[in-house]
C-alpha cells in the first residue's frame, strides 16, 4: 500500500537513518507530487507521536502577510505608509501604490504558534521537513537535501519534472544534451541565408554521428523499417560527445519549440559540433532522396531546423511531412561563422520565443552520392578530438589559378573550408612563417584599422619566432615561465 511505502521510507530515513527529509526530497524519492509529499510528512509526523515519541521533529513553513509591527526592519515602505506620506512619496501616487508583501517563514514546531501570531493573514502552513532532532538556527542541514534533489532533477526532462512533482512547467525550457549546447548566433549571421556550395569532406565517423542523433530524438514517426539504432531512445547525457564540442566553426541554433507538440520535448537542440548538416528550409525546394536514406535523413533533419519568426508552428508540421522525402539546404556566410566563434556563449538579441537556426549548407551535387554515406559525411565532424585543441573546419582564403577562355592565367581568391586543428596550426606557423605572412593581411581584414593588421601580423610573427626559439615547443607554459 502506498501508505506503508511512505511510512516505511520515512521511518527508515528519519528514525533509523537519523537524516532530515524535506518535502522535496520525499517527492523525488517516491516520485509523487510535492503537495502529496507535504501531506505524507504531516501524516507521518502525526503517527510518529505515538509510534516514535520524541524521535521526529517537524519544521513548518508559514506563508502569508505579516503584521506591520513585526515587519522586518529593512522594510522602509511599510513605515512610510504608517506615517504621513513623506516627501519621497508623492501623495497621490502613494495612495494608489499599495505594495503587497508576502512572507514565507520557516519555523520549527516549537515556535509555530508564536510565529502564527505574527501573521496578519496566513495563506498556507505545511510541513517543510522532518528530522530526528530540531534543526540548527540556520537550517543548514536542509541544504544537503536540496543538493540531492537537484542532482536527481538534473538528468530529468523538465516536462517530466513538472508532471511528476508538480513543478511549474515552462513551455520553452529545453535542456540540451551535454556537449551539444546551442550555439547562439549573433544577429548578423542570422540574416544571411544563401545557398553556398561546399567541397566534399573526408569520411567522418558516420555511425557515431548517426547513432548520436537517433539517440537524441525519439522518432515521432516510428519507421516501419528495422533500424540499427534504437527508436525513441531517450537522452544519453553521459555519452561522450567529445567530437561535438563547439570547436568547429559552426553555428546552429535551437529551433523554436514553444509551439511544437509535446512529443518534441526530447528533440535534441542544436549542437555545434558538426560542420555540415542537412537543414530544413520551408521555402527551399527539396531534393528527393531515396527511401533508404530517409531514416537517416530524418534523424539528421530533426537535429537541425531553421525557422522564420512567425511561421515556426507551421514549419514544424511541414518539416515532419517533408522529413521522409527530402533533404534541404540552408546557409550562412562563412564570415558570420567566424564571428560566431568569437562570440561564443554570449547570447544577445535572443527572443526566447523565437528560434533562429543557422546551419551550413551542403553541396547540392552531393545528393547524388550514395545516400547512406552522404548525409553522414557532411554532417559528422572530421577529426577525432585532439585533447582540448580546437579542431574542425576553418575558412581559408585560397588563391585558385585558372586558365580562362582567352588563355589567360587568372587568379581568383576563394574562401574554402579546410580542416585544421590548433596543434596543426602551431606546427604550420613554426614551419612556414614566410608563406603565411602573405595570407594574414587577408585574414585580418575584419579588424578595424589598417594599422592594427600590421600590429597583429607582427605580433603573430613574434609569437612564431618565440616558438621557434623555444625549439618548436608548442605548449602554453613556455609563455609564463619566462
Amino acid at each position: 500500500m502506498v501508505n506503508d511505502l511512505y511510512n516505511n521510507f520515512l521511518a527508515t530515513r528519519i528514525v533509523h537513518g537519523q537524516e532530515a527529509i524535506t518535502y522535496r526530497l520525499l517527492s523525488r524519492e517516491l516520485k509523487v507530487h510535492t503537495a502529496l509529499a507535504k501531506r505524507y510528512l504531516f501524516a507521518f509526523h502525526a503517527s510518529s507521536l505515538s509510534l516514535y515519541p520524541h524521535k521526529v521533529h517537524a519544521t513548518y513553513i508559514i506563508s502569508g502577510q505579516k503584521c506591520p509591527a513585526t515587519t522586518i526592519s529593512g522594510d522602509v515602505l511599510m513605515s512610510d505608509i504608517s506615517s504621513p506620506p513623506s516627501t519621497q512619496l508623492d501623495t497621490d501616487v502613494a495612495l494608489e501604490d499599495e505594495i503587497v508583501q508576502t512572507t514565507f517563514e520557516l519555523v520549527p514546531e516549537e515556535e509555530l504558534e508564536e510565529a502564527k501570531s505574527t501573521f496578519r493573514k496566513i495563506d498556507c502552513i505545511h510541513v517543510y521537513s522532518l528530522e530526528p532532532i530540531r534543526l540548527p538556527k540556520d537550517f543548514i542541514t536542509l541544504a544537503e537535501c536540496g543538493r540531492r534533489v537537484r542532482d536527481i532533477d538534473l538528468d530529468q526532462d523538465p516536462e517530466a519534472i513538472s508532471k511528476t512533482y508538480g513543478v511549474i512547467s515552462e513551455p520553452s525550457a529545453k535542456r540540451q544534451q551535454l556537449g551539444q549546447v546551442a550555439y547562439v548566433q549573433p544577429k548578423s549571421a542570422v540574416k544571411n541565408v544563401q545557398p553556398k556550395s561546399k567541397p566534399p569532406h573526408p569520411k567522418p565517423e558516420i555511425k557515431q554521428e548517426l547513432s548520436l542523433s537517433t539517440k537524441r530524438r525519439p522518432l515521432s514517426k516510428p519507421s516501419s523499417k528495422s533500424s540499427p539504432f534504437p527508436v525513441g531512445a531517450t537522452q544519453n547525457p553521459d555519452r561522450p560527445t567529445t567530437n561535438e564540442d563547439e570547436t568547429s566553426s559552426d553555428n546552429i541554433k535551437k529551433e523554436k519549440l514553444e509551439s511544437t507538440p509535446p512529443k518534441e520535448t526530447t528533440l535534441p537542440v542544436m549542437k555545434s559540433g558538426t560542420t555540415q548538416s542537412a537543414v530544413m528550409k520551408k521555402s527551399k525546394s527539396t531534393i528527393p532522396v531515396s527511401r533508404s536514406s530517409s531514416q537517416v535523413s530524418q534523424e539528421l533533419q530533426t537535429m537541425f531546423s531553421s525557422s522564420e519568426d512567425e511561421n515556426d508552428g507551421d514549419e514544424e508540421e511541414e518539416e515532419e511531412e517533408e522529413q521522409e522525402k527530402s533533404v534541404t539546404v540552408g546557409t550562412e556566410t562563412p564570415k558570420d561563422v567566424i564571428g560566431a566563434i568569437h562570440e561564443s556563449f554570449i547570447s544577445d538579441d535572443i527572443d526566447l520565443s523565437i528560434d533562429i537556426t543557422n546551419v551550413k549548407s551542403e553541396d547540392i551535387e552531393m545528393e547524388t552520392a550514395p545516400p547512406l554515406e552522404e548525409p553522414g559525411e557532411q554532417v559528422a565532424d572530421i577529426s577525432p578530438k585532439k585533447g582540448a585543441h580546437r579542431r574542425g573546419r576553418r575558412k581559408v582564403t585560397k588563391a585558385i589559378h585558372t586558365k580562362d577562355a582567352n588563355g589567360f592565367l587568372t587568379t581568383k581568391y576563394e574562401e574554402v573550408w579546410e580542416s585544421y586543428s590548433e596543434s596543426d596550426e602551431e606546427t604550420i606557423n613554426l614551419s612556414k612563417p614566410a608563406s603565411t605572412r602573405s595570407s594574414t593581411p587577408i585574414k585580418m581584414s575584419s579588424s578595424p584599422a589598417p594599422t592594427k593588421e600590421k600590429d597583429v601580423a607582427g605580433k603573430k610573427e613574434n609569437g612564431r619566432k618565440k616558438k621557434q626559439a623555444g625549439g618548436g615547443q608548442s605548449s602554453l607554459m613556455s609563455f609564463w615561465n619566462k
Binding site: 529593512g74 508576502t102 512533482y165 513551455p171 520553452s172 527572443d351
Partner: protein
C-alpha cells in the same frame, strides 16, 4: 491607505489544507507558465555588448562627453526654450547663448552644457600615490561630497563657467549630466543661476495592455551572493523553491506560476573566500605552491559557481531566467559589464537558447510589451557617493530626468571609452526601471510631463533582506515576497 483592514482571503482552500492526511487518488493542480515573449531590446543592448574584436582603448574619453552633449543638448534646449523663451527678467528678454564662453556680463541668458563638479574629497589617483609615501592610512568614506567646498561648473565645447547661486546648491547634480541654466554673469566671471532645466523624461512607448485576466509578473532579485559554503543562507533555496512553485500551498504555486520571467540582477556570486583557502595561506605554503599560467589555481574556490549553477539550472527548467552581472561578479568591472560567460554555469548553459540567458549590465528588456531598463546598481551607488542625501529613488528619478542612466561614467564610474555613441543615454523612458543591490527595498511611480509612467524599483540585496520583487506586467503594481528563517535574529 488602509492596510490594517482585514484582507479578504482569495483562497478557496483552508490555510491548513496540507496539514491533513493524504487521500487516495487525489489530484493536485498543475500549473504552467504562459508562453510569453521575453525579448532583449537589441538596438540598445547591442551597444552594451562589446565585441572583443572591436574593442579598442586607444581613444580618449572626451569623445564620450562630446557625444553626450551633442545628443542631449537639443533635447534640453527644447525644454529650456519652452520654459524661458519670451520671458524677461528686469525688463530684459532672456536669450539663448550658444557657447558658454559667449556669455556677457549683465545679460540674462541661458546656456546648455555638461555639469562638472570639482570635488575636493573625490579620490584622486595622484593623491593616492603621494599618500603612499606617508604612513597615515587613507580614511575610507562613504560619500565624497562636500557642499561648502565643491565647485559646480558648466562645460561645453568652448569652455567652462563656474555656477553660483542658491538655486544651484539645492539641485541634485552630478558630474556628467547635461542641463540648461538661466542666469547672468557676475562681476567675478561666475554665472549666477536663476533657474535650471533638465531634458526631462524621454518619450515612452505606449503599452499594449493585454486583455486577458491572467496576471503576469516579472521577478527581480539581486545580491544572491551564493557562496556554496556549508553555512549558506537557506533563504536562497527557499526562493528557488517558491519560484518553481513547490513552496507553499496551491495559491502560492498559482501566484508563482504567474511569474513569467526572472531577472537575477547582479552579485549572484559571493565574494567571500572559503575558510579552506585561508588555512592554506600560511607563508611557508605560499612559496611552495606551484604557479601555473601565472596564478595559483589551487586557491580558486569553485563552490560559489557550482552552487549558483545548480540553482539556476534547476530554476531554468521551470521559468525563463536572465542573469545580469554585478560589481562582484566574474566579468569585467567597468561599465557596461559584459554578460557573464555561460561557460561558468555549465548546467544552466544547457538551457541557453531556451530559458536561460546571460545579459549585460545595464540591459533593456521587452517583456510582453513592458519595456524594462535594469542595472546592477553601480550607477546609483556611484551617484550616491557624490551627492548629499540618501534617497535612492530620487537619484533614479533624476537619472530619468537627465535622460541618462549613468551620468558619472566615465568620471568616477569606470567605463569603456565609447567612440560612436553614448549608450547610456535614454532615448526612451522604460516602463520599469530597477537598480539592483540597493540597501533596502523602495519603489514608487514617477509620472512625466507627457503622461509617461515609470515604476522605479530599488531592489534590495537578497543576501541581506531575503526579498524578491515582483512587478505586474500590466498594471505596474509591485509586490514583495520575503523569505525568512525564524530565529535568525533578522527580525
Amino acid at each position: 491607505m488602509n492596510i490594517m483592514a482585514p484582507v479578504a482571503s482569495t483562497s478557496t482552500l483552508d490555510s491548513g489544507y496540507l496539514l491533513s492526511d493524504p487521500k487516495e487518488d487525489e489530484t493536485f493542480p498543475m500549473f504552467e507558465r504562459r508562453a510569453s515573449s521575453r525579448k532583449l531590446i537589441s538596438k540598445y543592448n547591442d551597444e552594451f555588448v562589446l565585441k572583443n574584436t572591436e574593442k579598442t582603448y586607444e581613444q580618449q574619453y572626451a569623445s564620450l562627453y562630446f557625444l553626450r552633449l551633442t545628443v542631449l543638448k537639443p533635447r534640453v534646449s527644447k525644454v529650456a526654450a519652452e520654459a524661458w523663451n519670451g520671458m524677461s527678467i528686469l525688463n530684459q528678454e532672456v536669450k539663448a547663448v550658444d557657447r558658454v564662453l559667449d556669455v556677457r556680463q549683465g545679460e540674462f541668458c541661458w546656456i546648455v552644457g555638461t555639469v562638472y563638479i570639482e570635488m575636493t574629497l573625490k579620490p584622486n589617483i595622484l593623491d593616492e600615490i603621494t599618500k603612499e609615501f606617508w604612513t597615515t592610512a587613507p580614511i575610507s568614506k562613504d560619500k565624497f561630497a562636500d557642499p561648502e567646498n565643491d565647485a559646480i561648473m558648466l562645460e561645453d565645447e568652448s569652455g567652462r563657467v563656474n555656477l553660483v547661486g542658491s538655486t544651484i546648491k539645492s539641485e541634485l547634480l552630478v558630474t556628467g549630466c547635461v542641463v540648461a541654466v538661466l542666469g547672468s554673469e557676475t562681476t567675478s566671471g561666475d554665472f549666477d543661476v536663476v533657474d535650471i532645466r533638465f531634458p526631462q523624461l524621454a518619450p515612452q512607448l505606449p503599452r499594449k495592455m493585454s486583455t486577458g485576466h491572467e496576471r503576469k509578473y516579472v521577478a527581480v532579485v539581486s545580491g544572491l551572493e551564493v557562496s556554496g559554503d556549508v553555512h549558506e543562507s537557506y533563504e536562497t533555496s527557499m526562493l528557488f523553491e517558491y519560484l518553481m512553485g513547490e513552496l507553499g500551498g496551491s495559491d502560492d504555486s498559482k501566484h508563482a506560476s504567474e511569474i513569467i520571467h526572472v531577472i537575477v540582477a547582479g552579485n549572484s556570486f559571493s565574494n567571500r573566500r572559503s575558510p579552506l583557502s585561508r588555512d592554506e595561506e600560511s607563508p611557508d605554503n605560499s612559496q611552495k605552491r606551484k604557479k601555473k599560467y601565472g596564478y595559483d589555481s589551487s586557491s580558486y574556490n569553485s563552490k560559489p559557481t557550482e552552487a549558483l549553477d545548480s540553482l539556476l539550472a534547476d530554476l531554468s527548467a521551470s521559468v525563463s531566467v536572465d542573469i545580469m552581472p554585478g560589481d562582484q561578479d566574474p566579468t569585467n568591472y567597468s561599465y557596461p559589464q559584459q554578460p557573464i560567460n555561460a561557460a561558468l554555469v555549465p548546467r544552466s548553459r544547457r538551457f541557453l537558447g531556451s530559458s536561460f540567458r546571460s545579459v549585460s549590465n545595464p540591459c533593456w528588456w521587452d517583456i510582453e510589451g513592458l519595456r524594462i531598463l535594469g542595472t546592477g546598481g553601480q550607477p546609483i551607488d556611484d551617484i550616491f557617493k557624490y551627492i548629499e542625501g540618501d534617497d535612492r529613488l530620487q537619484m533614479m528619478e533624476t537619472c530619468l530626468r537627465w535622460q541618462h542612466c549613468a551620468p558619472t561614467a566615465p568620471d568616477t564610474l569606470w567605463s569603456y571609452p565609447f567612440r560612436d555613441c553614448d549608450p547610456f543615454i535614454l532615448n526612451e523612458t522604460p516602463h520599469l526601471f530597477f537598480a539592483g543591490n540597493q540597501p533596502e527595498f523602495k519603489t514608487k511611480i514617477v509620472v512625466g510631463e507627457d503622461g509617461q509612467r515609470v515604476r522605479l524599483v530599488a531592489v534590495p540585496k537578497f543576501s541581506e533582506t531575503g526579498k524578491v520583487v515582483l512587478v505586474d506586467v500590466d498594471s505596474l503594481a509591485a509586490e514583495v515576497v520575503t523569505f525568512a528563517l525564524n530565529g535568525t535574529g533578522r527580525d
